[in-house]
C-alpha cells in the first residue's frame, strides 16, 4: 500500500519543478494575423510549357503578416502561430518589436501523438486498461522509459512492460501538453521589453509550396487575322495554412533562388508502436519491419483542391476585378486590387488582362536538318504577333499557357494549346499551336555527287486557301546551301525559306548540301 500512496507525491515534485522552469520566461502567443499580404513567385525551374502540378508546387511566396501582440515586460517568447507550414525559417524578418529581437526560433515540433510521447520520456503518464469481457476500466500511473520510434517501454509499480503488445486494449494518457508543442506551425521570437506594451508587429517570411502562371484564352476571328485575348492570373497554394482577406500579388520575371537546406523533421505525426513479440509469437520469424516513412506532404491533396474560377464563361463580360501591373526592379508585380482569400490547398484565378482585336498571323514552320530522314511530316502551326500597341498589345506578358479557340460556328471550337514565355514590350511573340493537320513537308535526297548532295524540299497544302510557310535550315551553313531561283532569308542567323503555298497546292525548293568534312 505504501507504494501506491508515495508515487503521486514524487510526481508532484516533478510537476512543481517543471512549472518553475516554464515560469522563467513569459510566453505571449499570437493566434493569427489581422492582415496579411501574400506575394506568389513561380517555380524557377518550370518552363511555360509545363502546367502547374497542384500536388507538387515548387514555387514559393513571400508572406507578410501584421499582428497585434501584448508584450509583457522583461524577457518573453513571442509565438507566431499559424504561419505557413512551408516556412523557410531563416528567411523570417520581424519588425515592430519595441526593443528588437534577441533571437528567432523555429521549433520543429508540432503537437502529434509521436511528439507527445517523445516529450514525455521519463515523465509520469497514466495507463488505462479496459477489459473486453466486462468493460471494467483500470487506471494506473506509469513512467515512459523509452519511446524512441514507437518502441515504448513503460515502468509501472509491477515492473517493466511494453505498450500494447499483449493484445489487450490499453492506452496512455497525459496530464498536459508540453509547453513547446504547438498545434500549428509556429515561429517564435525572444524579445526583451522595457515595459509591458501592445505592439503591431510585422512578420515576413518566404514559404514553399506555392506557384502561379498566366493562362491566356485567345479567340480567333473568322478571318483569322485577329484574336480576342483574355488572361488569368492562376495562383495556387499547396500549403496547409490559408490566408484570408490577403493582399495578394504575383511576380513575373525570374528571381534567383538557391536550394534550401533540408527541412527539419517536425516530430512526425502518427505514432506507430513497435511491438515484439506481439500476438502469437511462434509464427513470427522476424520482428516487423520499421514503420514506413510518413507520406510526402503533398500526397492526397489532389482531391482537396478547390478550383475557384471557371475558364470560358467570364471571358465574355468585362472582368470587374483585374490584376494591376507594377514595376518591381527588373521584375513585374501583379497586384490583385482587393484583398482575397488564398485558401489552403486551393487554386485561385483573377483576370490579368483583356485585349480585343489583337492582330495576329497564322503561319506554318518546319525545321530542316541534314540528318533527318525523307518521311513526310507535319509542319507546326504558329500564331505570331508582336508585343506592341500597333498590334493591340504593348504590355508585359507573363509566361503561361495559351488556349486558342475559333468561334465561327456560334460555339467556340478548340484549335489547340500552346505556351508563351515572359515577353517584354516590343518582342516578337510566337506561339506554337500543335501540328498542322494537312500541311506536309518532305525533304528528299535526289542525288549525291562526291561530297555534294542534292535535295528537293516539297510542301503540300490541303486547305482551300493559301498559307504562309517557313522552312528553317538548322545545322546547315549558308555557304553550303545552294539555292537556285528561291531567295533565302535568315532567322536567328539560320537560312530561311519563306513562301506562300497556294490553296490545295504545293511548293518545292531544290537545294544542295556540301559536306565539308
Amino acid at each position: 500500500m505504501a507504494r501506491v500512496s508515495r508515487l503521486p507525491v514524487l510526481a508532484a515534485i516533478i510537476v512543481a519543478m517543471l512549472g518553475a522552469s516554464a515560469d522563467a520566461q513569459a510566453i505571449a502567443s499570437s493566434a493569427g494575423p489581422q492582415s496579411v499580404s501574400v506575394t506568389v513567385y513561380r517555380d524557377p525551374n518550370r518552363t511555360a510549357e509545363r502546367a502547374m502540378n497542384l500536388g507538387w508546387l515548387n514555387g514559393y511566396a513571400l508572406v507578410s503578416e501584421v499582428r497585434t501582440i501584448d508584450i509583457p515586460a522583461g524577457e518573453a517568447d513571442i509565438r507566431f502561430e499559424g504561419v505557413a507550414g512551408g516556412i523557410i525559417p531563416e528567411s523570417a524578418i520581424v519588425t515592430g518589436l519595441p526593443d528588437g529581437v534577441v533571437e528567432k526560433n523555429q521549433d520543429a515540433y508540432l503537437l502529434s501523438p509521436a511528439s507527445l510521447l517523445d516529450r514525455s520520456l521519463g515523465k509520469r503518464v497514466h495507463l488505462r486498461r479496459t477489459s473486453r469481457a466486462t468493460g471494467a476500466v483500470t487506471e494506473q500511473d506509469a513512467i515512459i522509459r523509452t519511446g524512441a520510434d514507437g518502441a515504448v517501454v513503460l515502468q509501472t509499480e509491477a515492473g517493466f512492460e511494453a505498450l500494447r503488445c499483449s493484445g489487450l486494449p490499453e492506452t496512455i494518457f497525459y496530464d498536459q501538453v508540453p509547453p513547446d508543442l504547438s498545434a500549428r506551425p509556429t515561429l517564435s521570437v525572444r524579445t526583451r521589453s522595457q515595459a509591458a506594451t501592445r505592439a503591431t508587429v510585422t512578420l515576413s517570411y518566404l514559404a514553399t509550396g506555392f506557384d502561379w502562371q498566366a493562362n491566356y484564352v485567345a479567340t480567333l476571328n473568322p478571318a483569322g487575322d485577329r484574336v480576342d485575348l483574355f488572361a488569368w492570373v492562376t495562383l495556387a497554394n499547396g500549403d496547409e495554412t490559408g490566408f484570408a482577406n490577403a493582399n495578394t500579388q504575383t511576380v513575373a520575371g525570374k528571381p534567383n533562388r538557391e536550394s534550401d537546406p533540408p527541412r527539419l523533421g517536425r516530430g512526425g505525426g502518427e505514432l506507430r508502436l513497435q511491438c515484439w513479440p506481439q500476438g502469437t509469437t511462434s509464427d513470427i520469424d522476424f520482428p516487423p519491419p520499421p514503420a514506413p516513412p510518413p507520406p510526402p506532404m503533398m500526397a492526397g491533396f489532389e482531391g482537396d483542391i478547390v478550383v475557384t474560377a471557371a475558364r470560358m464563361d467570364v471571358a465574355k463580360a468585362a472582368a470587374p476585378m483585374q490584376a494591376v501591373q507594377e514595376e518591381l526592379g527588373d521584375l513585374k508585380l501583379y497586384r490583385i486590387p482587393e484583398p482575397v482569400t488564398v485558401a489552403a490547398n486551393s487554386q485561385k484565378q483573377v483576370a490579368l488582362l483583356e485585349k480585343s482585336g489583337v492582330a495576329v498571323q497564322t503561319f506554318y514552320r518546319a525545321t530542316i536538318s541534314p540528318w533527318m530522314g525523307d518521311e513526310p511530316f507535319r509542319a507546326t502551326r504558329i500564331l505570331k504577333t508582336r508585343n506592341r500597341t500597333q498590334e493591340g498589345l504593348g504590355l508585359p506578358l507573363p509566361a503561361g499557357g495559351v488556349v486558342l479557340f475559333a468561334g465561327n460556328r456560334g460555339r467556340p471550337l478548340l484549335i489547340g494549346e500552346g505556351s508563351v514565355g515572359d515577353k517584354a514590350i516590343g518582342e516578337d511573340v510566337e506561339i506554337e499551336i500543335g501540328d498542322a493537320p494537312g500541311l506536309f513537308v518532305r525533304a528528299t535526297r535526289t542525288d549525291v555527287v562526291g561530297n555534294v548532295a542534292k535535295y528537293l524540299l516539297t510542301v503540300t497544302n490541303d486547305q482551300p486557301r493559301p498559307v504562309r510557310f517557313d522552312a528553317e535550315f538548322n545545322g546547315i551553313d549558308k555557304t553550303s546551301i545552294g539555292d537556285k531561283g528561291a531567295k533565302l532569308g535568315r532567322r536567328n542567323g539560320r537560312p530561311l525559306w519563306s513562301v506562300t503555298v497556294p490553296a490545295n497546292g504545293s511548293r518545292t525548293l531544290a537545294y544542295r548540301l556540301k559536306n565539308d568534312n
Binding site: K123, K254, R257, P277, T280, S282, L331, T479, G493
Partner: protein, 460 residues
C-alpha cells in the same frame, strides 16, 4: 521494495525532468560540426567508479571524448547505443524470470504466474513451473512484466566512463567531444533602394540542431571558415558547393575576434539550442551602404539561341570599410528585397556568398530581367582551312525599360580550354578578359535595341 527504490531514483533524477547537462559551451563550425564542452558537478567516490553522462549529443563521436576533473584518472570509456525497446527487453530477459498476466477473455479475470524465458528466437519459449510453453501461441492476451531493465539498455545513447579517483567528493568534471548535427550559416536580409543606390543589410546567424539533444543555456561560439574534416558523412546527401560570388577578394581585416585564419562570432548571451530547432541571432546591421545594379549576359559558346534570353540582374556592392559594409561576411544566403509601389518590401531574388574577407567586391545575380534581353545568333560559319574556322556572331540587345541601360555582354568559350581564338573584327571594342572570354559594355537606349557583331577565328 526494490522496484520502488528504482522508481524513486528515476523520478528524483533531474535528468529526466530537465537535463543532466552542466555548464555547456558549444563551438559550432560551418560544416556540420561542433565541439561541446560540458562541465558537470559530479559527486565521485574514492577509488574506482562509473560515471554516466546522459544528455550528450545523440550523434556524439565517442572517439573524440575527453574527460577532465581534479584527481581523476580514466580507466575506460564506453558508449552504449543499445536502445531500450520491447524486443530488446525480451531478448535480454533470456534465462531470467518474468511475470505473466493472463486475462480471461470471458470474464476479464487476471491470473498471474512466474515464468522463465528460455529462448527468444523467432518466438518466445517459456518455462512455467514444469511446462514448456510458447508465449501467446493461443492468441490470447498475455501481458509480460519484466522485473528490471538490463543495465546497458537505454532510452537514449549514453556515454559512461569508469574513473579512478584519489579522493571522494563533488567537483567539476569537464566532458568535451565533437559531434556532427550542429551547424550554422549566415542569412542576410538586404533592402535595395535602386534610385538612391543604397542597400541596408542585416546579418543573421542561423543555427540548426539535428543532434537529437537539446543544449541548455549554452555559451555559444561560432567559427567561420572551413575546418578540414576526415571521413565526412555524406549520408545527409551530397550538396554541391555554392558559388562564392566574390568578384575581387578583399585584403582588409575586420574588427572581430580571430583565431588563426578563422573569424569568431561569440553569441552575446547564453542560449538554449533545442533539438530540431532553427535559431537566428543578429550579428550585422548596416544602413545605407552603396549598392548598384548591373545587367550581365554570358553567351557560353559561339552558338545561337532560338529566343531572346533575359540578361542577369546583378547587385554589386563592397564589403570594404570606406565604401561598403565594413565587415567580413561569413558564408550564407543573401536575400534581396525592394519596396513596391505601396512601399511594401518584396522579394526580388537571392544568392549565396562564401566566406568573404572585408574589402571584397561582390556581384550577386539576383535574377533575370524581364525587360532586358539578349539574343545571340551565328550569322555565318566558314571553314577557311582544315584547322581554321571563321564565325560571325550577331548579338541583338533589347531594352523595354523607360531608361537607358548598359549590358555587360560576355562571349565565353573562346579558347575551348586549349586552342587559341582570334577576334578578326568587331562592331565595338571589347575587353578581352582572358583567352576564353571577351566582354563588351553595350549601352542600350530606353525602349530600344542595340546590336553588336563580331567575327571570331577559331581552330574548331
Amino acid at each position: 521494495m526494490r522496484h520502488l527504490l528504482l522508481a524513486s531514483a528515476l523520478l528524483a533524477s533531474p535528468a529526466l525532468a530537465q537535463t543532466s547537462q552542466g555548464d555547456v559551451a558549444v563551438t559550432i563550425y560551418n560544416d556540420n560540426l561542433a565541439l561541446v564542452q560540458d562541465t558537470r558537478q559530479l559527486a565521485i567516490g574514492a577509488q574506482r567508479s562509473r560515471i554516466e553522462f546522459p544528455d550528450v549529443s545523440g550523434q556524439i563521436r565517442p572517439e573524440t571524448v575527453t574527460l577532465s576533473g581534479e584527481g581523476l584518472g580514466i580507466v575506460e570509456q564506453n558508449f552504449d547505443f543499445d536502445l531500450l525497446s520491447p524486443q530488446k527487453l525480451m531478448e535480454k530477459a533470456v534465462g531470467q524470470q518474468v511475470t505473466l498476466v493472463r486475462t480471461n477473455p470471458a470474464n476479464g479475470a487476471e491470473t498471474r504466474e512466474r515464468a522463465t524465458v528460455l529462448a527468444v528466437n523467432g518466438g518466445v519459449v517459456l518455462r512455467i513451473g514444469d511446462r514448456i510453453e510458447v508465449l501467446r501461441d493461443d492468441s490470447l492476451p498475455v501481458r509480460v512484466i519484466f522485473d528490471k531493465v538490463p543495465e546497458n539498455l537505454r532510452a537514449r545513447p549514453t556515454l559512461s566512463v569508469t574513473v579512478e579517483s584519489e579522493r571522494s567528493g563533488t567537483r567539476p568534471v569537464r566532458l568535451s567531444y565533437l559531434t556532427p548535427g550542429l551547424g550554422w550559416k549566415a542569412d542576410y536580409v538586404t533592402l535595395f533602394d535602386e534610385k538612391a543606390g543604397r542597400i541596408d543589410v542585416q546579418g543573421w546567424i542561423t543555427l540548426t540542431n539535428t543532434t537529437g539533444t537539446t543544449f541548455s543555456n549554452a555559451d555559444t561560439l561560432l567559427v567561420a571558415g572551413q575546418v578540414q574534416q576526415q571521413n565526412q558523412d555524406y549520408s545527409r546527401g551530397y550538396r554541391p558547393p555554392r558559388p562564392n560570388n566574390i568578384r575581387k577578394p578583399g585584403t582588409e581585416s575586420a574588427d572581430r575576434e580571430r583565431l588563426g585564419d578563422f573569424y569568431l562570432y561569440p553569441l552575446k548571451e547564453r542560449t538554449t539550442i533545442a533539438n530540431q530547432q532553427t535559431k537566428q541571432v543578429s550579428f550585422l546591421d548596416v544602413v545605407g551602404a552603396p549598392g548598384r545594379k548591373a545587367y550581365e549576359y554570358d553567351n557560353a559558346w559561339l552558338g545561337t539561341m532560338d529566343e531572346a534570353q533575359s540578361a542577369n540582374t546583378v547587385l554589386k556592392f563592397s564589403t570594404s570599410k570606406d565604401q561598403g559594409l565594413g565587415d567580413a561576411l561569413p558564408a550564407g544566403i543573401v536575400r534581396v528585397y525592394m519596396r513596391d509601389a505601396r512601399g511594401n518590401a518584396q522579394f526580388i531574388g537571392e544568392n549565396s556568398i562564401g566566406h568573404t574577407p572585408m574589402g571584397s567586391e561582390l556581384g550577386l545575380k539576383t535574377g533575370e530581367a524581364f525587360d532586358v534581353k539578349v539574343q545571340p545568333a551565328v550569322e555565318k560559319r566558314e571553314r577557311l582551312s582544315p584547322s581554321k574556322w571563321r564565325t560571325s556572331m550577331r548579338y541583338t540587345l533589347t531594352n523595354a525599360r523607360p531608361e537607358a541601360v548598359t549590358v555587360d555582354l560576355v562571349q565565353s568559350g573562346l579558347d575551348f580550354y586549349w586552342d587559341d581564338t582570334r577576334i578578326v573584327s568587331e562592331s565595338m571594342k571589347s575587353e578581352r578578359r582572358s583567352s576564353d572570354e571577351t566582354q563588351w559594355h553595350v549601352p542600350v537606349p530606353a525602349n530600344g535595341s542595340a546590336t553588336v557583331t563580331a567575327v571570331f577565328e577559331t581552330r574548331f
